[in-house]
Structures are given as structure tokens and as C-alpha cells.
């Protein structure tokens, strides 16, 4: 059965609407812990939108980029409280299956707010651009 093009956009629209309307859950602990949604602009391999899930075990930051779709495991991540600088490295593959090394550098914005952000840049062997995510 062929689904009309207009209907194909409904689930995506609903997901976006849900993401925009869900209240941000307060997170007063480790600042990077939780889910983050935003963009890595100009990413022709993984698409413009990015979802980030991070955790903190007391020593290390772990997590996944685009869980459920790209499933890019975060290899390295650090947070420097002096300036709240965030550094993330992760290995992925491009559409042809070749290795891509993502490096994300940013700064936490509005640390004290539940919807704090990470703003900076992303880059890999094939491109770079603005990176901006906000905690959900």
C-alpha cells in the first residue's frame, strides 16, 4: 500500500511536537547527564538533527549519539569546569561505510537552567559546522 507523502510527515511532525512540548526534567547533578537534542549543521552523513544521551559514573562520561538510528558510541568525553568546556570524540561510518571520526567541542550555556545547552562545533574528515544541543 502506498502511503501518501503528506501522511509520511505526520510521525515526524508528531515526534517534533512531542519533543517541543515535553517539560524539561530538572537535573541538578552532573551537568552533562541526560538527553540532548539539537543540530550539527551541515552534516551530510548523519543529517542535520542530532540526539545525544550522556551519563556519568563518577569518573567517566559515556553515551551515544543518535541512539536508535546511527548508534554512535561516544569514545571520549570530558568536561572542564573552568569555562564549562565540553569535548566529545566518537567513531562513526559514512554512507559508504568508511570510518568517520567525530570531534565535538563546545561550551555549556546557561549551566543553571534545566534546558542548558552545549554550543560549539563538530568536525570529521569530510566536514565541519556548528553544533548546538539543549538538554531535554
Amino acid at each position: 500500500m502506498k502511503i501518501p507523502r503528506s501522511l509520511k510527515t505526520v510521525p515526524a511532525f508528531c515526534a517534533l511536537a512531542l519533543a517541543l512540548t515535553l517539560p524539561v526534567v530538572a537535573q541538578e547533578g552532573f551537568p552533562l547527564k541526560g538527553s540532548w537534542i539539537g543540530v550539527w549543521e551541515g552534516n551530510t552523513q548523519q543529517g542535520n538533527d542530532v540526539l545525544l544521551v550522556m551519563n556519568w559514573d563518577g569518573k567517566n562520561i559515556s553515551g551515544t549519539i543518535n541512539p536508535g538510528t546511527d548508534n554512535i558510541k561516544i569514545d571520549k568525553a570530558s568536561l572542564d569546569p573552568n569555562g564549562w568546556k565540553v569535548h566529545i570524540e566518537a567513531d562513526a561510518k559514512n554512507k559508504q561505510g568508511a570510518a568517520l571520526r567525530y570531534v565535538i567541542d563546545g561550551t555549556i550555556q546557561n549551566l543553571e537552567q534545566p534546558n542548558r545547552g552545549i554550543v560549539g562545533t563538530w568536525q570529521n574528515q569530510s566536514g565541519k559546522g556548528k553544533f548546538e544541543v539543549h538538554r531535554q
Binding site: A26, G29, K33, G58, P81, N82
Partner: protein, 374 residues
């Protein structure tokens, strides 16, 4: 009548505000008011709004631009009434002068630090300071149950009562003795690292909260519960209800949102109903306790990360594990000790302790963060 009222208020004014941060509040005022600035108003009372969470005096102030109405915010009616003040202490038409802090958003709101009757100079609506001296104690011995365990609340048939006037209203490691106000705001930000053995990120968050004058406190902004040791640092107090048949203690809070927590002493594990703490971390965690001599030892885990567990904003993670030790060395004193373990936020375990005083014959205040008078 007015003279009598002023006489009463004048005599009650013995317990005075002393400066900027003297009074303990259920939550910090810094979120709304700029405590680094001072403002003064003189005018005529138009209305007294005697409702939780904070009482307000509305007053007309005559200036160059004509008559403007200001709202002067005070401590909660519960706290003011504990010190003898009433909603009719002031009435429309009374002339008052106010010293306080202006609102951050520059609206015509002021936090009232010093409110005086203009004619007599008598100070009004003063609240007691946080307990700074030794607790009042009597010679009465520790009340005990038939099995010899100290009663942490009232024994059956005895007068009701609750614990109040904590000797500390902020958290820092025993022995640190960093100077703070009653809200937990450090006098010197350079002392931040000495308050507790925080990991670098936690110290950074703590400093940020301190430098923002605690204005982001979720208990202030969102009425989040005062989980952890914070619940024992409110003047509004706590009350123990001991259900010995079911082997559990209910700890009722006069502050927060009139929350309660349960300490189980029936030997159960500190896990949730679903399958473990991870399924449903809580503001007050999950508590299991046992007696060691005259001390109730309580292990608490399963905290969420949605609140501040201290008045000064020391951060924690969901790995927080508290070991609380409650003892009642005499009838009037509850001694509270807490060991804080959280490998997600601290570099080593650390401890703090303080006392609370028995307020016998009194009922736990009915304070709610939201307005409860409507």
C-alpha cells in the same frame, strides 16, 4: 488600641532582624530579590496579604511621580506567627517605613528586612534568627519505649511536639567552619573548596550557584522538596511518628510541601516496588534503619537529582548514599549526624552534625510552599 498594638509589637521586637541575611526562611529569597542592594520606602499601608508562602504588605509611597503602590514581601505567616505576629498587626492607613532589597526585575516589590511603625519607630514583623546559641534543655530524661529505645517523637498519651530550631541551617563538613549565612551563602567564595570534598565539576557547580546568590534553588523556584539533610535544617521543623506495630517511622516535614518520608525498621531492603531504585529515584530516597544502642541508624539511597540536598547548593548525584544517625540525649535535644557518600560528586565520604530542639505541646506548622489560605 493602636497604642497597645504598637506596645505589643515593640516588646516583641526584642527578637530583631540583624542585617541582611539574618532570618532563616523556608527558601532563599535571592532568586527574586537582589540582596546586594538596599532600598528604603516610607508610606501608608493599603492592604496586608497574610498568606503562604509569604506575607505581603501593600503600601502607597508618594514620590515625585505621584503615588505608587509597592508590595513588601515578608517571611511566611507561619514563621511570623511563631514569633507572635498576626495578620492584623498592621492595618490599612498605618504609616510605615521599610528597609529591604529591591526585586531583580525592577518591579515595585521589596523584600522587607526592617519594617517599622513610622510614628513610634517600633520594629514590626521580625522573625527569630536561626538558633545560634545552645539549645534550651531541661533536666527531663530521654523518653523511652517499654523496650528501652528512645522515643524520637511523643510517647502515647504525652503531649504532641516536634523538632525545630536547628543549630545549623546549612551543610558543610564538620570542622570546616566556613562562614555562611543562614541560607548557606558563603561569606567568601574562595572558601568553597573547604566546605566539602567536592569533585572538580561539583565544586564548579557549587561556586556557580553561590555566585548567583542561590537564586536557582529549585526549592525556591519550583517548590521542590528539601530531600536529604536539608529537611532537618528548617525552622519549620520535623516530627517523628513511630508506628511500632508496622516497624516504621514517618518523618513529617513542616517545610517543603508538607512532605513525609518513611524509615523502615522491619529488615527490608532499600529498593522500590518496581525492581530497584533505578526505576524510581525519589526526592527523599529509600530509608531503612536499625537501632545501635540508643541511636537509630538509617541508610538512605535511591535519590533523584532533581533537587538540592543542602541550603547552600552543594550538588549530588543519584549515587548519593546517606547514613543518618538519630539520637535523643535528653528530652529536649535531637542529635542528627549524617555521613555523605557520593562517588559521583565527592572525592571521599564526609560528615556533618547538628542538634534540633523539642517544641513540646506544639503542632507541626502547616506550611505549604504554595498558598494554603485560599
Amino acid at each position: 488600641m493602636k497604642a497597645n498594638r504598637l506596645l505589643i509589637t515593640g516588646s516583641l521586637g526584642i527578637a530583631v532582624f540583624v542585617g541582611a541575611t539574618a532570618a532563616w526562611a523556608h527558601h532563599a529569597i535571592q532568586g527574586k530579590f537582589d540582596v546586594s542592594k538596599n532600598t528604603e520606602l516610607t508610606g501608608v499601608v493599603t492592604y496586608v496579604d497574610w498568606r503562604n508562602p509569604h506575607a505581603h504588605i501593600f503600601m502607597n509611597v508618594t514620590g515625585k511621580g505621584g503615588v505608587l503602590n509597592y508590595a513588601v514581601e515578608l517571611e511566611s505567616p507561619v514563621e511570623l506567627e511563631m514569633d507572635g505576629w498576626k495578620g492584623n498587626t498592621l492595618r490599612p492607613g498605618d504609616k510605615i517605613s521599610v528597609k529591604g532589597y529591591p526585586s531583580r526585575d525592577r518591579s515595585r516589590q521589596v523584600w522587607g528586612v526592617d519594617v517599622r511603625d513610622t510614628a513610634s519607630g517600633s520594629q514590626l514583623f521580625t522573625a527569630k534568627l536561626a538558633k545560634t546559641g545552645p539549645l534550651h534543655t531541661t533536666e527531663r530524661p530521654t523518653p523511652r519505649w517499654p523496650d528501652g529505645h528512645p522515643a524520637l517523637g511523643s510517647l502515647p498519651g504525652a503531649a504532641d511536639g516536634y523538632w525545630t530550631n536547628p543549630t545549623k541551617t546549612y551543610l558543610q563538613e564538620d570542622g570546616a567552619n566556613m562562614k555562611m549565612d543562614e541560607y548557606g551563602a558563603l561569606a567568601n567564595i574562595e572558601d568553597a573548596a573547604k566546605v566539602a570534598p567536592m569533585q572538580p565539576w561539583a565544586l564548579g557547580v557549587y561556586k556557580d550557584r553561590q555566585q548567583r546568590q542561590l537564586r536557582d534553588d529549585p526549592m525556591f523556584i519550583n517548590c521542590k522538596p528539601p530531600g536529604g539533610p536539608r529537611q532537618y535544617q528548617s525552622r519549620l521543623g520535623i516530627q517523628f511518628i513511630e508506628d511500632r506495630q508496622r516497624k516504621r517511622y514517618f518523618v513529617l516535614l513542616g517545610s517543603g510541601n508538607h512532605n513525609y518520608r518513611i524509615i523502615y525498621t522491619d529488615g527490608r531492603k532499600p529498593v522500590g516496588l518496581v525492581g530497584g531504585d533505578d526505576d524510581n529515584p525519589l526526592y527523599y530516597g529509600r530509608s531503612v534503619g536499625h537501632w545501635e544502642g540508643d541511636t537509630l541508624v538509617v541508610e538512605v539511597t535511591g535519590f533523584n537529582e532533581d533537587f538540592w540536598f543542602t541550603n547552600g547548593g552543594i550538588p549530588h548525584t543519584s549515587d548519593l548514599h546517606l547514613t543518618e544517625r538519630f539520637s535523643r540525649p535528653n528530652f529536649d535535644t535531637l542529635h542528627y549526624e549524617v555521613k555523605v557518600e557520593d562517588p559521583g560528586a565527592f572525592t571521599r565520604p564526609w560528615s556533618a552534625s547538628w542538634d534540633l530542639q523539642w517544641n513540646g505541646g506544639a503542632t507541626l506548622p502547616s506550611y505549604f510552599c504554595q498558598n494554603n489560605r485560599q
